[in-house]
């Protein structure tokens, strides 16, 4: 049911692991629905310098997490925000229909991280 690319990213996830000194951490999902994705970012000059992820979830949840980190790594925050769920699925040669909805949350984790980072920066500016 999964494409070869999904299986590859599931079996050999890119950028997997936690980051002790992350500038910001994004998180989506909840344990009830069976998927939690966390992304850890180092940000420099408004670019994603480094990224890691950790995921609780099914094969699709792991593969989309892995893929999204590849897609946004090195990008500016504005460009990273433009990476959509559909793009992530496409880059993996598609996902089974049932998984498109429930396990394709990785792009949301990126957005969550960037939004948090920006609101943190604003607060610092105000101080």
């Amino acid at each position: 049911m999964y494409s070869d690319k999904v299986m590859d990213h599931f079996q050999n996830p890119r950028n997997v692991g936690k980051m002790e000194d992350a500038d910001i951490i994004g998180e989506v999902g909840n344990p009830t629905c069976g998927d939690i994705i966390k992304v850890y970012m180092k940000i420099e000059d408004d670019h994603i310098k480094d990224i890691k992820f950790s995921t609780f979830g099914c094969g699709a949840a792991v593969a989309t997490s892995s893929m999204v980190t590849e897609l946004v790594k090195g990008k500016s925050l504005d460009d990273a925000l433009k990476v959509s769920k559909d793009q992530v699925a496409e880059a993996l040669d598609g996902l089974p229909p049932a998984k498109m909805h429930c396990s394709n949350l990785a792009a949301d984790a990126i957005k969550d991280a960037i939004e948090k980072y920006r609101s943190d920066s604003e607060e610092k500016d105000e101080e």
Partner: protein, 390 residues
């Protein structure tokens, strides 16, 4: 192909070589319709009678005519529930079942509520999956017409006190149906000793073919047929018989009965080895279902904290191991197993379940391979999980 390690015998089993040999002529030259009057038909008819007697022997029914062949265990469950409900609807419209039934029973009961105005009580179970007999007795009403509670659970292997349930049903003059699809061939199933009125069987769970099941209906039990057509199965299930399938079912039943004592002994040993090994070598592993003789000999079910079941299955599959999970991701819905949730487990924990089910041909060497690989797989997925702190 690389060697496969098959640990999903509760889902289905391979057809035994002896069963296949018995079936083969009926897929080719012996093609007669059992309803036909000439020789080919009569031969087929005779063959079905013999198969029926073998299924009768497996469950020690009094008369082979108490066995109705169906197209599956699911169909037999449907026939039992709908058939009794229709026959007794003027007496009452209340059915009692449990929360942890197979969907073939659960969804049929829901259908009865939604479309036919029946009222269904779903009994809760305790942490090991047992119903409470007092609860059961208290939920019987004047209009209760049927109790349907499975003999053994397909996910967690809990063996219900079927004999005691049958006694309560009898005291209150209510029919009792039990789905014994997972129990037959694993533990002794004796319908006379148990005192059940209706009992469901399936061939492909006991090394027989897919596409054939049976319903035992005790003599005198009122049942309205659900498949209308010809006079097959003594007018209780229309449709030309699945001749080869029924022959295979008969042979599988015969083998299951012969093998039972030896198989039970072997599988209990392997089951308990798997359970103690996992508990020793993997932290935060929770056994689902009871221990000892109230658990099916071929069933092991664990929840591994912090991880999700489909990931476990995919990783095991890479290593040649086939098993199953009650995770939502493997069921096509967003909800994890209704059985695990009924035990009182949180969604998060229920997502991380793994069922290992053994067959009569499972070897100790295969079990050792599984036990060698499993801790690494669990650790690999935990290392990826945001819920796990090492």
């Amino acid at each position: 192909m690389d060697k496969r390690y098959y640990f999903d015998h509760a889902a289905t089993t391979p057809i035994d070589e002896k069963v296949f040999q018995e079936m083969e002529p009926f897929l080719t030259e012996e093609f007669g319709n059992p309803s036909s009057i000439y020789q080919e038909g009569q031969k087929a008819n005779q063959t079905i009678m013999e198969a029926r007697e073998k299924v009768q022997d497996l469950i020690n029914a009094e008369d082979s005519r108490e066995i109705i062949f169906t197209g599956s265990g699911t169909e037999a469950d449907n026939l039992a529930i709908k058939g009794v409900a229709m026959a007794l609807k003027d007496k009452g419209k209340h059915i009692i079942t449990s929360e942890i039934e197979h969907h073939a029973v659960l969804h049929t009961c829901e259908f009865m509520e939604k479309h036919l105005g029946f009222d269904v009580t779903y009994l809760e179970v305790d942490g090991d999956g047992f119903i409470d007999l007092e609860d059961l007795e208290n939920s019987i009403r004047d209009d209760t017409i049927l109790i349907t509670i499975m003999m053994a659970n397909n996910e967690i292997g809990t063996i219900q006190p079927v004999k005691e349930i049958a006694e309560i049903a009898k005291d209150h003059e209510v029919y009792f149906h039990t789905d014994a699809v997972q129990a037959a061939g694993q533990i002794e199933v004796d319908v006379q000793e148990l005192g059940v009125d209706l009992l469901t069987l399936s061939a492909h769970k006991i090394n027989g073919p897919k596409g054939v099941g049976a319903l035992y209906v005790k003599k005198g039990v009122k049942l309205i047929p659900q498949m209308n057509g010809g006079a097959q199965e003594r007018k209780r299930r229309g449709g030309t018989e699945n001749l080869a399938g029924i022959v295979g079912f008969g042979k599988a039943a015969e083998l299951a009965r012969k093998r039972l004592p030896e198989k039970q002994k072997k599988l209990i040993k392997l089951r308990d080895k798997i359970i103690s090994n996992i508990e020793e070598n993997i932290s935060k592993a929770i056994l689902n279902g009871p221990r000892g003789d109230k658990r099916l000999p071929n069933n092991v079910n664990f929840c591994f904290r912090y991880i999700e079941g489909e990931s476990i299955l995919l990783n095991l599959d890479f290593l040649g191991i086939a098993a199953s999970s009650g995770s939502a991701c493997t069921s096509g819905s967003l909800e994890p197993s209704h059985v695990l949730l009924s035990l009182g487990m949180s969604h998060e924990v229920a997502h991380g379940s793994l069922r290992i089910s053994l067959g009569y041909n499972t070897t100790e060497e295969e079990v050792d391979y599984l036990l060698d690989k499993l801790p690494g797989v669990i650790q690999k997925i935990r290392d990826m999980s945001p819920l796990y702190d090492g």
